[in-house]
Structure formats: C-alpha cells, structure tokens
C-alpha cells in the first residue's frame, strides 16, 4: 500500500460520498464534511429564475422554493431514475454541488469512493458511475453498509443495518468483502414511515391541512418506538387557522410499522450465518443511517432478539456522516495502483 504522505504529494483530494435517497453527504481528506438534502430544483420559468436568483437550487433551499421550481428527488429507493432526464440531471447536479462543497483546489485530482444502497449496485451501477464520473478523476462504487462497516473498523463478526429513507440495507461482515448472500435490502424504510404517518394523520384529522414534506419533518423531529414520556403536538391549519394537534400515537404507529420486517430480516440474516459465529454477530449489531435516530429502535431490536439469546445493538455516533466517513477511509486506504487502472 502506498504511504499516505506519498499520496498527498500527488496532489490528490480523496472524497467519500454517501449518496442517499433523503440526504447525501461528502467527507473529504481536507477535513470538510458537508451534507445536503437529496433534492435539486430548476426555476419553472424566467420569473421564477428572477425570484430565486440561481439556475439550480439544492437541498433545503430547493425545498424552500419548491413552488417556483421543478423539483426532483432523484434517488427514490436509492436508485437513479435514469431515462427520466431530470432525475439523471439532478443526480449530476447534486454530485457537482457536493464536490464543490469539498472545496478542491484547482488542478487537484479527485479520487472518490461512493457508497450507495446495496440494491442500487445490482442494476444501476453504471448510471451511478456515469453521474459521478464527470466530476472526479477516478471513482469506485461500494455498498453503503459496507462503507459504514469499513469506516467503523467492523470488519469481522458484525451485522450492519443501514436504515435509510428508501431502503434498509443489511450487511454481515465476516472478515472479507461481503458477497451478495451477506447483504439484504428491504423497502419498508423511512419513506414508508412517511406514507404511513401521512395516512394516519389524514384519517385522524381529515379537516387539517398538511403535506408530505411537513409529515417528513414531524417524523424527523419526533420519531420514536415503544413509549416516551412526552407530549407530541404540532400546529396544523384548520380552515386557515393554526390549531394544535396531538400526533404522538400516529408517530409511534408509523415508526413501529417498519419493525416487523426489520426484526424478521435481522433474524433471517443471523440464522443463515455459520452457527458457530452467530453469537458473535448478535453481540455486534450496529444501526446506521437516519433511521437509527428513531428513539428506542436499538432497544426494541435488542429486546426482540432476546429470545434468540443475548445480543447487543448499538447505533453509530454520527449517522449522517458514517457512510461518507467509511467511503473516505476506503478511498485513502486504496493502493494508488488500483486508482491508476480505473
């Protein structure tokens, strides 16, 4: 492996990118860590362009001006919707914006490792490469949970569960690069919670006005499973007047809607592994991704798995950057001879 200081001499900026359905993050070797909401939007017309003052907007800013924009969330289910022109364009814009945020020096080479949901790797790897390749010198694509595991040094006897917006990815690490059998993806993830919550709220408060973006914000702010000792109330307009609504039960029900498939797939993944090592894996389950911020989810999973013996479930410290950090570490550790041939 080429020493890191020798690589630095090559004037290379290493970046790790976590390309997510809801949020995308970049971590670079110059110490910069940034994230944006995975949205891009273009002004609908000349007037809109005058109002927003930019040819393209990203993330929260795009959401804020969404009424003036053709807005696109291109990584639905973690997959680039290629063929739909705006989606591919949006991914490219997001990548370009992320790389700008990393502030590369002029003429500096960029070597990137991009973490994507495991399912994307199966049929969309070329699309992902195409979208990223325009803005970097060389790149490698890896599955997101693997990037998390590598970054956290969880190389052996560990189960990584990346709870994203579009997908939940499971990845068993056993001292080698995970094969397809070591990975599973399910689609009852963050977006599914949003849908459930939206439906529950419509059912309970048919006269109140809210949209899916508001519902997503409620989820991100209040999500929990099991019980908590606090009231959850939000202000929603009814006939134009702001009214406080109790949404605690709906939040809990929506968040808990992903638990059955989460528990089932976790037990399946462990059960299919070599029985001699099952106990070790059960004691090294790590939750990553935005879903790991759901209060009580690690305890719930730990409790649900108790009937199969003792187990330990923990959450990564920084779910927003765990994937990007791991991807960056991969990029930095990668021997330069590998970069050269790609």
């Amino acid at each position: 492996m080429k020493p890191k200081d020798e690589q630095k001499e090559d004037n290379v900026l290493f970046v790790g990118i976590d390309l997510g359905t809801s949020r995308s993050a970049i971590c670079s070797s110059n110490g910069i860590q940034e994230w944006i909401e995975s949205y891009a939007g273009w002004p609908k017309d000349f007037i809109a362009e005058q109002v927003v003052g930019k040819p393209v907007l990203f993330g929260a800013e795009a959401l804020q001006h969404r009424l003036s924009l053709d807005i696109c969330r291109p990584l639905e289910r973690g997959i680039i919707k290629e063929g739909i022109e705006s989606s591919e364009r949006a991914v490219k814009e997001i990548i370009r914006h992320l790389i700008d945020l990393a502030k590369p020096e002029p003429a500096q080479k960029i070597h990137a490792v991009v973490g994507v949901p495991a399912d994307s790797l199966k049929v969309n790897k070329l699309s992902i490469r195409r979208a990223v390749a325009e803005y970097v010198h060389t790149l490698m694509v890896v599955s997101e949970p693997f990037a998390v595991a590598y970054g956290m040094n969880l190389l052996n006897d560990a189960l990584i569960i990346d709870l994203g917006a579009g997908t939940i990815d499971f990845c068993i690490m056993h001292g080698t690069i995970p094969s397809e059998e070591d990975q599973r993806t399910i689609f009852t993830a963050g977006d599914y919670i949003d849908e459930q919550l939206f439906n529950y709220l419509i059912e309970k408060y048919p006269n109140s006005k809210f949209n899916k973006n508001m519902v997503r914000q409620f989820k991100e702010k209040f999500s929990f499973v099991r019980e908590i000792n606090e009231q959850i109330r939000v202000e929603l307009p009814v006939n134009g007047k702001p009214v406080m609504h109790d949404i605690k039960d709906e939040i809990r029900r929506a968040c808990e809607s992903i638990l059955p498939s989460l528990v089932e797939t976790t037990t399946e993944m462990i059960a299919r592994f070599d029985p001699e090592f099952q106990m070790k894996i059960k004691n090294n389950i790590v939750l990553a991704g935005g879903g790991s911020l759901i209060r009580g989810i690690a305890e719930y999973l730990q409790n649900a798995l108790k009937e199969y013996g003792t187990c330990k479930v923990t959450c990564v410290a920084e779910p927003l950057f765990a994937g990007g950090d791991g991807a960056l570490k991969l990029a930095q550790d990668m021997p330069s001879k590998y970069w050269e041939t790609l």
Binding site: I84, K122, V123, L155, T176, I177, E180, L342
Partner: protein
C-alpha cells in the same frame, strides 16, 4: 509482556491482511462494473438433477405422443366430440371489448410473421385448431382476469452473469416490476408476481403460485446467454417438445432447481392434452415475440429474431393456462449488458412486453369482430 506484544502484532497483521483483501475486492468489483473484470460465470449446472428432469420430460412426452395415436393412457379421446360440436353461439366479447387501455402509449407495429415453427399437433384437438379461426378460449368466452409475471431465477439462483457482473435474476426482477406497473395502469387485470424481491422461489413453487392465484395468463422473463456468439437475440417459448439441441440445452439450464419428482410428472403431463393451453400459448408467444422484437430492433440494428419456439420448460409444463417463457435479451453480449444496466432500456423492454400482452388480449377483439 513479550507475549502480549506478539499477540497484538499478530492481530494487527491479521487485520491489515483483511483490509488489503477487502480493498482488492472493492477494486475487482469496480473493474467488473467496467467490464474489465474476471470472465463471467456461466450458468449454474447441476447435471444430475437436470439429466433426470430432462429424461423425465422426454419420457413423459414420448408416452403422451404415443397416447395420442393409440388413444389410451392419460387424455381420453371422448371430449373431442362434444367440444367440437358446441354450437357456435359466441358469447359477448368480454375479453376484447375492454382491452384497449392506453394502447396509444405502447408502440404498435404492423404484425409480422415470426420464425416458422412446427404446427401444434400434440393433442387430439388439432382438427379444431387447424380448421377454426376462433380459439377454444374465446369460443368459450373465457376471460383473462389475472396475469402472473414470473421474474426468472432469484435468491440463490442467479441465472446467468454478464462480464460486468450483472446478474440475470436482478434484471428479470426489475423488468418484471416495470411490466407489472404497466399492466396495472390499464386497471383491467389483477397482476401478480411469483417473486417481488431477491428471494429463492423453486420452479414448483412458482407453478403452485400460479395455480393458487388462479392466474389466467403466465409470462416468465429470462435472459439468454450465448458465450460463443457476440450476438443479441430475442426468442419466446411455449411448452412443447423440441429436437433443437440448443433449445434443449436452454431448457436444461432454465429447469435447474425444479423440485418436481418423477411421480408428479404423470399428473402434469396430462396437461399437455389441453388444446386450449397450447393454442393460446402459441398465440401469446407470437404476440410477445413480434412486438418485443420489432420494437427492440429500433434500438439495436443487429438484434436477431429467433422467433417462437417450443421447448420443455418445467415452469411452463406445470402451468395450465396460456404461458410463455421469453428470453428478452442476451447477457453474454457486452454491449447489451451495458444497455441492460440502464433504467431506460429495462423500461423499454417492459413496455414492449406490455404491448405484446395487450396485442394478444386484443386478438380476441379482432377475431370476434371478424366473426360478426
């Protein structure tokens, strides 16, 4: 102290080795994405099982063919007479009347003759088939209510693998999902899939699913693999015997993992006598092949039409409704593998398959109108 240092050195060395292996693994995977990796894996082979299975299919077919001449074993000759003398009072064209959903969205090209293949003569109803323009299904006014889409392979059965590492099971699943979305838009049919994720579904279970769902139409989606030829072909199969070695080889590959026992064959082979299935499967296959090929040809001038064929695929044998197995593309062709990795190409294939299905369903409309 010394012992402790040695242990930690050993651990560090082991971890370094693991990391190196992982990094090389990542590199090799990315090389394979670019089509520069190790040679593609060939189809999984379980010779013993396939050998037994294929022998069983041929034995069963041989017995059946013999039976058609001697009129003894499985299918009684009696039903022929009553069915052939059914008064031709055609029911309302329920199949046809509603079947023009959003067809303008789907590419319709003039009908062409597909590759010639043997006439369907595997049943005692062949006289009806050859003399009438109206199929039994439409004569009896049977409707297509439920369509079952089968994404080939899945889970532990990857099917073929391209040089870039693209797996047949992933592509077929994606196309199947897209096809389902197209068919659902018409709002006329109940559309089901034998698998909706990357799970292992044995062939026998797929057949059971079709039966339990009471599906009226079955389409199984696969990818071809022709390692010795740098071509891209499309071909569509319905169940029947074949003398073509390549077809038999393909059947052998696609039948891998079947859990049929020999004892099951007597029962399932009886289904071969069902003229309706053969008639309709043939028509269905012709529609699929014609529309899929003609539309796909727009994107690939070198695409070859290998036509409609008959082959002893187990998954088609067990299903007793109109059923086809379509090889929508060829994963051994590097250029085609690249295309299959694009969402738009898979979307196109799904759209052309939907067009083929609608074309088949609308044949009823045309036949009925002509009759009137």
């Amino acid at each position: 102290m010394f012992h402790g240092v040695m242990i930690s050195l050993f651990t560090a060395k082991k971890e370094f080795k693991i990391r190196q292996d992982m990094l090389r693994g990542v590199y090799e995977e990315n090389l394979s994405i670019l089509g520069r990796g190790r040679p593609a894996l060939s189809r999984r082979r379980s010779f013993l099982l396939k050998g037994i299975l294929l022998s069983a299919v041929f034995s069963a077919l041989a017995i059946l063919m013999l039976d058609q001449h001697t009129g003894s074993l499985f299918v009684p000759a009696k039903p022929t007479a009553p069915i052939s003398t059914i008064p031709v009072r055609l029911p309302p064209a329920s199949v046809s009347a509603k079947l023009t959903p959003e067809l303008d969205k789907y590419p319709l090209l003039p009908a062409v003759s597909v590759t010639p293949e043997d006439a369907v003569n595997a049943s005692e109803f062949s006289a009806i088939m050859n003399s009438r323009n109206v199929s039994l299904m439409r004569m009896l006014g049977l409707k297509i209510k439920t369509i079952m889409i089968d994404a080939g392979h899945g889970g532990s059965s990857s099917g073929t693998t391209g040089k870039m590492g693209t797996k047949e099971k992933d592509i077929t699943l994606d196309i199947a999902k897209k096809l389902k979305a197209h068919l659902i838009k018409s709002d006329l049919h109940h559309v089901l899939m034998t698998r909706e994720d990357d799970s292992t579904v044995p062939l026998l279970d797929r057949v059971t699913l079709v039966r339990e769902a009471k599906a009226d139409l079955f389409i199984s989606i696969h990818l071809n693999y022709l390692p010795k030829k740098n071509t891209n072909i499309i071909e569509t199969y319905y169940f029947g015997s074949s003398d073509d070695k390549k077809t038999l080889k393909l059947a052998e590959q696609e039948n891998a993992g079947s859990e049929y026992g020999l004892s099951d064959f007597r029962e399932v082979v009886e289904m071969l006598g069902k003229t309706m299935k053969l008639q309709e499967s043939k028509e269905f296959a012709e529609s699929i092949q014609a529309l899929l090929f003609l539309n796909s040809k727009k994107h690939d001038e070198d695409l070859q039409n290998h036509g409609v064929k008959r082959a002893p695929f187990v998954v088609l044998l067990g299903v007793d409704v109109p059923s086809v197995l379509v090889e929508v593309s060829c994963l051994s062709n590097p250029e085609e593998e690249r295309r299959l990795n694009s969402e738009s190409h898979r979307e196109n294939i799904a759209r052309y398959l939907a067009t083929g299905i609608f074309d088949y369903l609308n044949k009823g409309a045309r036949t009925y109108e002509a009759k009137r």
